[in-house]
């Protein structure tokens, strides 16, 4: 258990498309790596070593600072039994913790329900991006989904501030509780009132915010900035979620160039985010989680890599105990997952359980659907 000065907050950046873990945290002096990656192996002298066995992709220098400070946990060989090679299914499994059947509730939706059982705060969980990821879905849990924080709100198409304010005023009155219109209409009125309340509060975040940090203009950079703005505005938000551009990490072709760009962006954005919070003295109670739905095939295909099994996840934060968690999967043929893939040895539900228990002080079992060994990475 960790104690923070203010309520603990989890920020999540989902790396959509299946990030190639093998070229992210790279085995050093490994002949098999070079054999299996004739096109994509990163030259040994460009890898940024983090210990005797592993090193970062050259674009990840900003993350090395967090490693050196002991604030970066790296989860290697992470996945689940019987891997799914479908983006949608595998992402769903990570979202719902249901590898066997199709689940409808997300782990963070359930966690939000526990954090705020009566939905007192309509902003306990906020998603940045269009449409709600399954991770945040839970019946009766309101989650704001923000496409663009600068312009977020209702009736955003109305020109002129006074016209819009007047329209929102009418909206508020139209959605006030009505008598005798039936349960569905009552429900829509209540939902509209919640949405208006949430939008009203959220829309104040950009104005309250000043910072020396210049985030990258990419969607990852801007959404990480939105997460910082929302956190710094102190709305009581506990779960902040965003997803990198849809399937961007799906590097079947032209991976060397594409992933260099992506990891430059992700590394910078994580660094900017943590720096921003620290400069505002608001980093103590935030942990940032990065995950992806699966890793990629060990063997490259001449230009990229195809869908694989075990992958890599990261946690960054001042209460995170830096280190490597899980065993780096062997590239030996006999140790591989069927189909030339890395075999998992760390269940992602262990990672979730540790976050839920040690960070949020919640009981993980009902949320992740079982008892999974904890990873002691907070301290």
């Amino acid at each position: 258990m960790v104690s923070t000065k203010k309520d603990p907050v989890l920020a999540v950046l989902s790396l959509s498309g299946g990030n190639d873990g093998l070229n992210t945290v790279i085995p050093l002096n490994n002949g098999l790596y070079r054999d299996y990656r004739p096109t994509l192996a990163v030259p040994e002298d460009q890898i940024i070593p983090i210990n005797d066995e592993l090193g970062f992709h050259p674009t990840m220098a900003p993350l090395k600072k967090f490693w050196d400070a002991g604030q970066l946990a790296i989860f290697v060989g992470i996945g689940y039994p019987t891997p799914s090679y479908s983006h949608f299914r595998s992402m769903d499994i990570w979202h719902t913790c249901e590898p066997e059947k199709i689940g409808t509730e997300g782990w963070l939706g359930r966690a939000t329900k526990q954090l705020d059982p009566t939905s007192e705060n309509v902003l306990t969980a906020v998603n940045f991006g269009r449409g709600l990821p399954r991770a945040l879905v839970m019946d009766g849990v309101p989650v704001a989904s923000v496409g663009n924080l600068e312009t977020y709100g209702l009736l955003t198409g109305i020109d002129g501030e006074s016209q819009r304010n007047e329209a929102l005023d009418v909206f508020g009155r139209m959605y006030s509780p009505a008598i005798g219109t039936g349960p569905v209409m009552d429900y829509i009125h209540a939902t509209g009132t919640d949405a208006l309340k949430g939008a009203d509060i959220l829309s104040t975040a950009p104005d309250k915010y000043t910072s020396n940090v210049e985030y990258s203009s990419t969607s990852i950079g801007q959404y990480m900035k939105n997460i910082a703005q929302t956190h710094l505005a102190e709305f009581g938000t506990r779960v902040l979620y965003t997803t990198s551009p849809y399937n961007g990490f799906d590097s079947h072709a032209n991976q060397a160039q594409a992933n260099a760009g992506l990891w430059t962006d992700v590394s910078r954005s994580v660094d900017d985010f943590m720096t921003d919070l620290r400069e505002h003295d608001a980093s103590d109670n935030v942990t940032l989680l990065l995950f992806t739905e699966f890793g990629r095939r060990i063997n490259d295909n001449g230009s990229g890599t195809d869908h694989g099994a075990a992958g890599i996840a990261f946690a960054v934060g001042e209460h995170v105990k830096g280190g490597i968690y899980g065993n780096y999967p062997s590239l030996e043929l006999s140790q591989q997952e069927e189909g030339g893939n890395l075999k998992f040895n760390l269940d992602f539900r262990s990672l979730y359980s540790s976050i839920l228990e040690d960070w949020f002080h919640l009981e993980p079992e009902p949320i992740v659907g079982g008892n999974f060994e904890r990873i002691k990475f907070f301290g």
Partner: protein, 475 residues
């Protein structure tokens, strides 16, 4: 033309299709309600959607593999097809016979499945079930590919009964037993998918159904009281005879076309909202030898469908919201222009990821379409479209409003705007707020240029307010 005729035909076009522009509504109303119903029920008399137009702009859409492309093609058809009822029925069956891209992982197969619903969705229910049970993607989605003579997988057998035809029960009783599920699954052993060709170098090939007699259980099975060496098609024959099947399809049709019903799992214990309406459709099902179009004819010509109490008694699903607005203002109709891709993603933002339902149970409908995230998406999307007076379709509504009088009082103005955006019926409270809002700027004129631009601005704003009402969430 009487206002009530327009309101009735608008109701029909919203339900039996994805709505229409005001001009179209009035033209159809002039033809008479019964003639419009007959046109809808006989879609072959209309030309098919101009798919060539889409293919000319996007040659790569032909047999496209990507899911987004297939969703976009479908949304294009919803907007553009002159055959609106088959398009609406394709969505109807997609919402019942659920298979999702999350497992199938082939946009092309999802597109082919929807095309099958489009082709057979108004025909004989027996043929439809047969087509479904020989659909390779469905066999894979529900694990019939894993069901073998020696090692049974009950998934398809169970869902065929529970979710695709008879339903768990009705009138508080049960419609089948666990033994029936097993017998059903055994009859479908060997209904499998032919081994696909490897995707390289020519890309993916379509999946094909294959019956494997060597893997089919040839022993006798007792299914719903009938014993024999049943194969899957025999099971379908027995299923189609069941009163439960007539009830199940009728309730689904009622929920989709007439008024929101409780969700499917509640149907065994919860009686239909309108039992007589359900019985009318059940009778049409049996009298016609399981013809879906006969059920639809019974529905659309009935008093229960025309009744004012069921108008706006359904929360619009996201596809109805998005496509209905585009058709109301004629955007992306008859032409290909940029923005269609983004529009085809809108239903997903509103909680309906087309071709990827959350589970085999499908989307929950009615009020469950609405949460604080999806409501914001719905309201902003609708108000952005309806409030954009530069769109020709919206402009023509403003012109109509101007033509209704030289001076409009706030009350007349609000009534006029509600009439042109539906005609939409709102509660007295809502109307009071809208009129109070309009009253702040007084009456409207359009004599001078400046009065005209004020008139236009205020109409656009009023349309945005109307699009934001709780009432506009219903269709």
């Amino acid at each position: 033309m009487a206002d009530q005729d327009i309101a009735l035909v608008a109701h029909l076009l919203r339900r039996a299709g994805f709505g229409a522009s005001r001009d179209e509504i009035e033209a159809k109303a002039a033809q008479g309600y019964d003639n419009v119903v007959q046109d809808l029920l006989n879609p072959e008399a209309q030309p098919a959607v101009e798919n060539d137009l889409l293919m000319r702009y996007f040659p790569a859409y032909y047999e496209a593999a990507a899911i987004e492309t297939n969703v976009q093609s479908w949304v294009f058809k919803m907007i553009n097809s002159p055959r609106q009822l088959p398009e609406k029925m394709a969505l109807f069956w997609h919402m019942i016979f659920c298979a999702g891209h999350s497992k199938i992982d082939s946009g092309q197969e999802m597109g082919r499945m929807v095309a099958m619903f489009r082709e057979h969705g108004m025909g004989n229910f027996r043929d439809l079930l047969y087509n479904l049970s020989t659909n390779a993607a469905m066999m894979y989605y529900l694990d019939n590919t894993e069901s073998h003579k020696a090692n049974l997988n009950e998934n398809y057998g169970r869902e065929l009964l529970e979710l695709f035809s008879i339903g768990v029960g009705m009138d508080e009783g049960f419609n089948y037993s666990e033994d029936d599920v097993k017998a059903c699954a055994r009859a479908f052993t060997g209904w499998n998918v032919a081994t696909p060709y490897p995707p390289f170098p020519h890309g993916r090939s379509p999946w094909n159904f294959r019956f494997d007699p060597a893997d089919h259980d040839e022993t006798d099975k007792t299914f719903l009281g009938e014993t024999g060496n049943w194969n899957g098609d025999d099971i379908i024959d027995i299923v189609c005879k069941q009163p439960g099947t007539a009830r199940f399809i009728s309730r689904h049709l009622y929920n989709y076309f007439v008024a929101d019903e409780p969700q499917v799992p509640a149907w065994r214990l919860t009686p239909p909202r309108d039992r007589a309406a359900i019985e009318t459709m059940e009778k049409a099902y049996f009298d016609s030898g399981y013809q879906v179009n006969a059920m639809l004819e019974a529905l659309f010509t009935s008093d229960f469908f025309k009744d004012e109490s069921v108008r706006y008694a359904k929360v619009k699903n996201p596809a109805e919201m998005v496509v209905g607005l585009l058709r109301m203002v004629g955007e992306h109709k008859g032409e290909i222009k940029p923005g269609l891709f983004e529009l085809s993603q809108e239903p997903k933002y509103m909680g309906m990821d087309l071709m990827n339902p959350p589970t085999v149970e499908g989307w929950h409908t009615g009020r469950e379409w609405i949460d604080s995230g999806t409501l914001v998406e719905r309201i902003n999307f609708a108000s952005d479209i309806l409030g954009n007076t530069e769109l020709p379709g919206v402009r023509s509504l403003v012109d109509r409003l101007m033509a209704s009088g030289d001076t409009l009082s706030p009350q007349q103005f609000v009534d006029g705007c509600l009439d042109l955006t539906g005609p939409l019926v709102v509660t007295d409270d809502t109307k009071k707020q809208l009129v109070a809002h309009a009253s702040k700027e007084g009456e409207l004129k359009h004599g001078s240029d400046s009065e005209q631009s004020e008139f236009t601005r205020r109409t656009g704003e009023m349309f945005q307010m109307i699009a934001a009402t709780a009432e506009f969430q219903f269709g």
